[in-house]
Subunit: 592 residues, 2 copies
């Protein structure tokens, strides 16, 4: 059973991602180390004791649609109420609306643990948090006053309605439409798919944020508006009124996260109300809906990254436990009686240590991204911009590296289990199935890579990423200067990977400057992976450099393993970026 | 829907794996090119038209255990009868027992196509073929006469009973026991798990091959005997007699291949018959059961490799089709109206071409392995030994590389589908789920790697693998000498990867010679991958060198893509083998 890794999380937050330093420098208000510890401990307890037992229930039962009502898995309704009552929905929200105003880093850490307990469950609250962010940033005061307090407390959950059957990654071709009404409201019509937690009775109202197009809107992405469309309309006193004209038409039959209801939602077909059309309220300005979405997109992408980290951790825990318990054969050097625990076999140990390394690397990248987001809200304008650029740069890497790692680590977890891994009761297969959506949603990892290369590298004319690589090189230098034997060849390996990163980055910037986006895009995915691997090596080294006695030997040896076994791949990735585009272009013929 | 790639298969068999040359040299009896073509065409038709439509049915319905009877998915019973009536069960079997005595290569090609149609279905016949091989090699004349004709024709299916809950990879600790009876028969007692197609009514009898231990047997793997244990005993005239004392206790709830019944079998608990004990007949000698198993293990492992190739092909076909149909966004350089087909996006094209390359590479390795097996049955003793060693060397690489590729390619297939890939109705997810068992059964890929390094590299004191690498280098030289511009940097890339392979091979042989198997085993999996990647590059080049007009441009460009994008990873893998062991040893502490 998953046990939230509170110590590893606290260490990474404090000593790799920079939380401890930020607190000491007073950049995070009156947040104290003690409060951080208390929050992590309690979030971990809830994830381990309350959520983890209900994860497999969700997978087995799934969400069901019965007579138009969505039934969530047994125990999930109470779990949600307990979770919301614990104040977990509002860690980072604006105190003006009942939130706790805590740093994003803490929420991200808690998200990791909850996703470790149950990814399908946690997806619901994750969507609510995104909707809160969008409403805080762009809603009118009246809308905020009416809706935010209950969304912040978790009394109402919320959804994001973007995708349509023909409009997934490309929202510009969306067909859902909105009509203006004389009273300033809108009527919404259309079909939305893949709506996470789109319908249920866990909360008495559900607040849908829906993208739609006005009749006179410009074509493409500049003609999309964002609307708040509640399941139940509110009376003047804020109490629940009439049912709005929207409903869940069907649930998807998915590979994983079975407990999370993935709904096809129909707006405005006349099923409810006097006349067809779901009543909606504009958020932000007309035709600026996509900009409102972008506000929350970085946070949402990082939240998906946390699903990857969580799957890594859960799969690793399960595999390590199994490998200690299961005996089979005799490993080289095994002197015990009978068969060895399989953890003694070098190949099994290689798998498990690789899983550990990818877990820690993903965690460090994601937390560093959250740290940048937090600091982007503090300091002077230059400082805020610096950290906003850092968060922007790290977000696609965090999302993609952690979610790819989730799939890879869960697959290794199955392999460690042997035949048992293929049997559903073991639970290793469930983690793998669940993991597979994370590289897809909130922008596929290929779209993250395109974003990284075409939008993030050019920030500050390329000087932001250059500065960042410079910081990473300093850490490699600190490893060299430490003269710690336990680092092995780490310093040289880091330097080599960072040189690969630097050369590839400059090559991409030059291609972009030359207007050759096709070549840059052809190498975007290998570049994104290169960046993630180099960061993994450097961040593990940063942790190992921290002079914290507890666990330092392990951090050093995991760092060395990572440097000497995993990150040499950057050379091949560099080659793929720089030399691969021409052969890819030539090979397109094989797809004819 | 899957369409058997008959042309690609024929090309690879003939021009990469060497079938055409072997026929021309008269090494394969009176087999003709026309007969090969006719067999491939008809096997392909059956796979595409008859099997492929029933694959998804098997996944959805699964096999079910109802009142002790196993119900197979709708249509599978008739599918089996039609398949067996087509003579497909007996392609390679001994003509003395009704077989067609055709080369193994043809059976392997057909297996690819049937697995492409439905892996869960094809698994049943695959086990029958293995049992036929074991019985032909080791059974008494009386047993052969009684059982082989109907097993060869497919009138009866057969199973292999090896695994027990505590005895998976390590069969030495098996507990199932056999007692001698005065009439020369044995009584079998015990529980076996993961028995593929262990019970059903598709054929009127099922022939179980069961490993068990005699009371006075030596401990470990030298004390295991193999028995033939029929579901129904035979009367003197060969007609079906009494029900034997064995039954299916339960079916596993698996991640994939749902249509294939995976049974827990109970032998000898007294459910059937006068006294407890399933009646069994010894195959081969007492305590030599594992040797009998090894006879068929190479073929069985290659058959699993074919599952990997089949999944690669099916996933690639599905993804290419989707990427042509689905439109989204505008790719760089897209001049059409509206959105581009997603196949135009460089990142999607990269995924699809990578899928093609891994499919062709896996296919070429597997067919080359089958070719070696075929030639090991011809020529003089030295020649036969040479090819037997080649088959032995290639088997672990074929099994592991193709099955890992199956998982990776199926995962890329999901990614190409975006959100649709996570919806089960699309079918991409099913292929991924099915694929995941292949790296596990018939010896996990980690065990294949250990076999490759510790048993196969030392063949002929290392001279066999050295000679093989020499042959591969000659192909790289031919690429260089061809001066074909379309090869791009292929020659240099092949040389570089082959140098990595050579250096790593010598390092491993030296470690083994020094008695340091722990270090050799620590690098076994990366070495196995290195070997597979280098072979992929070389075999694609070999195909591209063949002066067949049809499709040569495509073969050249796919080869170049593979050489310039995929095989540079060998450098990192070499590093992991040679330099990774020490850091792995140090990092074991993190698993404490």
């Amino acid at each position: 059973m998953y046990k939230a890794p509170v110590e590893d999380i606290a260490f990474t937050l404090n000593h790799v991602a920079g939380l401890k330093g930020a607190i000491a420098e007073g950049r995070l208000g009156d947040l104290s180390d003690d409060l951080v510890d208390a929050i992590l401990l309690e979030a971990g307890r809830f994830a381990s004791d309350e959520m983890a037992p209900l994860g497999p229930v969700g997978d087995k039962e799934g969400a069901r649609l019965v007579d138009g009502k969505v039934i969530v898995p047994t125990g999930w309704d109470k779990l949600y109420q307990d979770w919301a009552a614990g104040g977990w929905n509002s860690l980072t929200s604006d105190p003006d609306f009942g939130g706790q105003g805590l740093p994003h880093m803490l929420n991200v850490a808690a998200l990791e643990m909850w996703n470790g307990g149950s990814m399908g469950f946690t997806l619901g609250p994750t969507l609510t948090m995104g909707a809160v962010d969008a409403l805080v940033a762009h809603g009118s005061d009246a809308l905020k006053a009416q809706y935010l307090p209950k969304m912040v407390s978790g009394e109402w959950m919320a959804t994001m309605n973007l995708t349509e059957p023909h409009a997934g990654s490309d929202l510009g071709v969306m067909k859902s439409r909105a009509e203006r009404r004389d009273d300033g409201t809108y009527r919404i019509f259309g079909q939305k798919i893949y709506i996470t937690w789109g319908e249920h009775d866990v909360t008495e109202n559900i607040i849908h944020l829906v993208l739609a197009r006005l009749p006179d809107a410009p074509a493409g992405t500049r003609g999309i508006s964002l609307f708040l469309v509640p399941k139940f309309l509110l009376n003047a006193d804020g109490s629940l009124g009439a049912r709005n004209d929207l409903h869940c038409h069907s649930l998807e039959h998915k590979l994983g996260i079975h407990g999370s209801p993935t709904c096809t939602m129909i707006y405005g077909d006349g099923k409810f109300g006097d006349e067809p059309g779901a009543i909606g309220y504009l958020i932000g300005e007309e035709n600026k809906g996509l900009a409102c979405m972008f506000t929350m997109m970085n946070n949402a992408r990082l939240a998906v990254g946390m699903q990857g980290v969580a799957i890594c951790e859960a799969a690793t825990q399960k595999a390590v436990q199994y490998a200690k318990d299961r005996t089979q054969g005799k490993a080289p050097g095994w002197s015990g009686s009978g068969m060895s625990p399989i953890i003694e076999h070098p190949d099994v140990a290689r798998m498990l240590v690789t899983m550990k390394a990818l877990t820690q690397g993903s965690r460090a990248i994601c937390y560093s991204c959250a740290h940048a987001t937090d600091l982007s809200h503090h300091g002077d304008a230059d400082e805020a911009r610096h950290w906003a650029e850092r968060a922007a740069l790290l977000t696609p890497i965090a999302k993609s590296f952690a979610t790819d790692a989730g799939v890879d680590v869960a697959s290794l977890g199955i392999q460690v289990h042997g035949g048992m891994g293929f049997i559903e009761e073991t639970g290793a297969a469930r983690l793998w199935r669940d993991s597979r959506i994370a590289p897809i949603y909130e922008g596929t990892n290929g779209i993250q890579a395109a974003d990284l290369v075409t939008r993030k590298l050019p920030l500050s004319n390329g000087d932001h990423v250059r500065g960042f690589i410079g910081e990473l090189k300093e850490i490699a230098e600190q490893v060299r200067a430490s003269n710690l034997e336990a680092f092995g060849e780490t310093a040289a390996r880091l330097s080599s990977s960072l040189a690969d990163l630097e050369e590839t980055t400059e090559w991409l910037l030059a291609r972009l400057a030359a207007g050759d986006s096709a070549s840059a895009l052809a190498g975007a995915t290998p570049y994104q992976r290169l960046f993630g691997l180099a960061l993994t090596g450097v961040y593990l080294a940063k942790g190992a450099l921290a002079e914290e006695d507890h666990g330092r030997d392990q951090r050093l040896s995991l760092c060395r393993f990572t440097a000497e076994n995993l990150i040499a791949e950057t050379a091949a990735l560099k080659d793929r970026v720089i030399n691969g585009a021409a052969s890819l272009q030539a090979a397109r013929a094989v797809l004819a």
